[in-house]
Symmetry: C2
Subunit: 555 residues, 2 copies
């Protein structure tokens, strides 16, 4: 009986974010990454979205490890929410493998959730091999928009699996060595059964530029700006922080850091010597006062217009230390995550209203993204020469486009599997096929609740659109029949002037609906009659359909 | 006493959309455009947003006309909602001036609102002059992404005002002549007091490409596609429809039109000879069956992912006549309006899931926008040589960037006024200044209501985020004291499993809150005690703050 390998994406395939991939044999199971995604506008009230790990829970005795490829939240952010659910039969949390900077970033998050002391995080050096049951994993150094990123070469009983993680081929990275192409080529020559490769920018022609482009821009901006230069970026983009520090240093500016996560990450990266900040160039915000503006640079969170971020507080004149003034230059060193465009745009406009000049990726080269474009993806096929291919990380169209690239690079069409979350791909020496599907729905995190169900979201959508009407119907406790006048209140439905007349008539509509010769036997019957009559009346009057909550009370 | 001109933007300055500009003297008032904007994600349940015309209403006896520059909804869409409010003292609706195609598009909209028979629409030919009280208006032909677009040269008692409308300088437009640069130059030589110029793309370097670029792309796509070619665009983009018809004709395809507004507009444009569709190339959808796919082209609405549009119905397998199949090519011939990115992205992915190939502006030259880039804006200054400048149409940053262009072209800084909606600019021969501010808030249209107030929206936001709790507290009708067990229900708050225990304990929390030795005198006091206790309890338990509606009922 040949060894069968199961490949089960729990996140990141068919949508962007919450990346998580399972590899499984009859004896062992490992998970690659455990990311989160941010809710879209229809996920009302939801704080964040994580993968459904039920599939792993049901096989918990086989779980050997969670392998993290790099420190971005869409690959690590679900860890605080899933670790306890993935407690091993021996009572311990599953080991997490990652590189050194990734450990630092994960530790900051786990500490916030009081999970760090129980977690078992093991640092892997690229080149080193780790045996995990029947799997042997090697971390292979690769480049992305965060240092210490890794691809994974996983020897399985069925053959070698190569997972790129998120990557671009940056030959002149800001930190660390260029990608280890020669090791990847060597693995390719030895034979790769299955390639899983980053599809996020599979719709983009050509090559993705090196991070060095941004260094040049920052240098020019810091040299020419007459006032302060305030750079907003992702808190995990440690190499971008280094670029800002370097550009500030070359231009005689001191650097101030603001934003809670940014400050934690910078401190961690300094402690671990990932960031170098010579000559005490970093200073606490309280020291900014008195320094001439042309000697100031600021690093902040908020490049996505996040409502509570430091940059948005500045734009709203609500930051404790920084008042935006004419002469300030604000640099948004990121590209908009889809869905954030309106928030970002509002932030830019508010900064302009305060007199700042704002530079963003549409009008200046202040950001390059971290994902391979089409020519780099082709190069990856040229190096790995895989037998099978599964495109990972991307919306469905990216997976299809990446599949087309695979085909153009000689992978046989029947060996290419554009899976979606929950698909179960089985590979053995006789071939590969999608053998089933497991639940891999979005799991919503809202406040302290993990797993908000879809009825709650459907109700919120209803409430958001047309508001709510509560109708209280008094029932005689002896006869069970309606008596007296119903009470009706509304919220989020209709404005004052129009409201009074309608609410008054709504009471009459309720009384008419209940004034029925047949004697009803159940409360539910009252309620549904009130609901239907009110719903019809309000729609006729307003063309809206508020949520109607009839409540009968015995008096 | 020198004649004073007042310039009052009621929309379109500091935000994109709902364009409306007022010009006013002591005797006369004219409005330029009356557009709508679509709600952003925070305007929950709102259908659309129109300008506040209170300023005009208060001066209704001076209103001489509404001048429409072109037929796009952000310049015409508010007409059905404001015309009745702007009834003249003589009982008639104010005259609307516009070019011929614009009249056709406005008529379709007014007919839908049963306003066409009462409306007074007057067609103006470019070059013709119209006297409106002390104003004399000349329509000047210009190019934009819709035919029959006009700039306005308005002779006022204070001097000549030139308003560009929306424009780009397309020397090879798909329909109609190129922009009348020589007339603009002549007006400039005669002396322009005030230029108001389109700022929408003031952040973009260079020149905007001609519409011809799209013709070439469509031709290539129709020639190479093996299956049907389905082109989605704005229903008002009549010239794009002509481009699709022409490309289909050259490639032996018949053209089918779907989408309600698209069908109305195409019919109107055919009737008015704006569209030419020779050889019965257009056919009704029922005839598509049986025709080979390579002989079919479809024109549809839905390029912005609008949930009820024909294209989105196709993507969701819910279109009556068109089932998307492998081999179909879908072209999104538009660029995303900010805020629509997620809807568009979802539509593209769903089309890919059905096997279609999708071409959109990020990956193919299937759209060019209709607004002047920086070099064209400079050229406009070179032709008009204005004394004063007000940038129009754009978010605040665009107005600032356009102001910088004005300065670089020699307009004195003190003569440049980046206004925002509601600012009142006064110009006379002694100079210009912002002399005041009037209300120019968003007016929300929701169902049949025009003017949803901000409390309703605030409540909807609250409901959308954390849902609602209704708590019914029975009071003894004799003693006025709470008796019996309160009833608590929730919607949109919390899912089943967590809910029961919390709701049970919430009842106890309410009873404790009411079990107070002091004898309260008012119902409101009960309600606020219930509200506060419940709010505190639920936040502790869930970290959420649902809307709490306590209702006391006498039993």
């Amino acid at each position: 009986m040949p060894e069968k390998l199961r490949v089960v994406p729990l996140g990141g395939l068919g949508e962007i974010g919450k990346n998580m991939m399972v590899l499984e044999t009859d004896e062992d199971l490992i998970a690659i990454d455990a990311g989160l995604m941010f809710p879209d506008e229809e996920m009302l009230g939801v704080d964040l979205v994580i993968p459904d790990v039920t599939y792993i829970e049901e096989r918990i005795q086989k779980l050997r490890a969670i392998l993290i490829t790099h420190g971005h939240e869409d690959h690590t952010g679900a860890l605080p929410y899933i670790l306890r659910r993935l407690q091993l039969p021996n009572g311990r949390l599953p080991p997490i493998y990652c590189t050194r900077l990734t450990r630092g970033l994960i530790s900051v998050k786990l500490e916030e959730h009081h999970l760090l002391s129980d977690a078992d995080i093991r640092v892997v050096t690229p080149g080193e091999r780790v045996k995990l049951g029947g799997f042997t994993v090697e971390y292979v150094h690769i480049t992305h928009s965060i240092p210490d990123s890794a691809a994974l070469a996983i020897q399985t009983p069925a053959g070698m699996v190569f997972h790129t993680g998120d990557f671009k081929l940056d030959h002149t990275p800001v930190m660390g060595p260029p990608p280890n192409l020669s090791r990847i080529a060597e693995l390719g020559r030895q034979g790769i059964l299955l390639l899983m490769s980053d599809s996020t920018y599979a719709d983009t022609e050509g090559y993705t530029p090196s991070e060095q482009v941004v260094s040049d821009s920052l240098d020019r901006i810091m040299a020419n700006a007459e006032g302060r230069v305030i750079v907003a970026t992702f808190a995990s983009l440690i190499s971008r922080v280094q670029q800002v520090i370097d550009a500030a240093k070359r231009n005689g500016r001191r650097v101030f850091v603001t934003g809670r996560t940014m400050m934690s990450n910078v401190q961690m990266a300094l402690d671990q010597h990932y960031l170098s900040a010579p000559d005490n160039i970093l200073a606490p915000l309280e020291r900014m006062r008195g320094l001439p503006p042309e000697r100031i640079a600021v690093i902040t969170t908020g490049a996505q217009g996040e409502p509570t971020s430091a940059l948005v507080r500045m734009a709203n004149r609500a930051h404790r230390y920084i008042d935006i003034q004419p002469g300030d230059t604000v640099v948004l060193s990121s590209s908009p995550i889809p869905g954030n465009e309106v928030l970002i745009s509002r932030t830019i406009d508010n900064l302009y209203r305060l007199g700042a000049k704002v530079l963003y990726s549409r009008i200046a080269k202040v950001h390059v993204h971290g994902h391979a474009a089409q020519e780099e993806l082709k190069l990856m096929f040229g190096l790995t020469l895989p037998q099978y291919f599964v495109p990972v990380h991307g919306e469905y169209r990216h997976l299809v486009m990446h599949s087309q690239i695979a085909k153009s690079m000689g992978v046989p069409e029947e060996n290419i599997f554009p899976l979606e979350d929950g698909d179960i791909l089985e590979i053995d020496e006789r071939g590969a096929q999608v053998a089933g599907h497991t639940d891999a729905d979005f799991v919503y995190v809202d406040g302290l609740a993990v797993g908000v169900d879809s009825i709650v979201l459907r109700d919120r959508k209803h409430l958001a659109g047309d508001g709510v009407i509560v109708a209280i119907v008094p029932l005689d406790k002896h006869s069970g029949k309606p008596i007296g006048r119903p009470d009706v209140i509304s919220r989020g439905f209709i404005e004052g002037s129009m409201s009074e007349g309608i609410m008054e008539r709504a009471r009459e509509v309720i009384m008419e609906a209940l004034d029925n010769p047949q004697s009803p036997t159940e409360r539910g019957d009252f309620n549904s009659r009130v609901h239907d009559a009110l719903s019809r009346f309000l729609y006729e009057q307003t063309r809206r359909r508020p949520m109607i909550l009839p409540m009968s009370v015995e008096v």
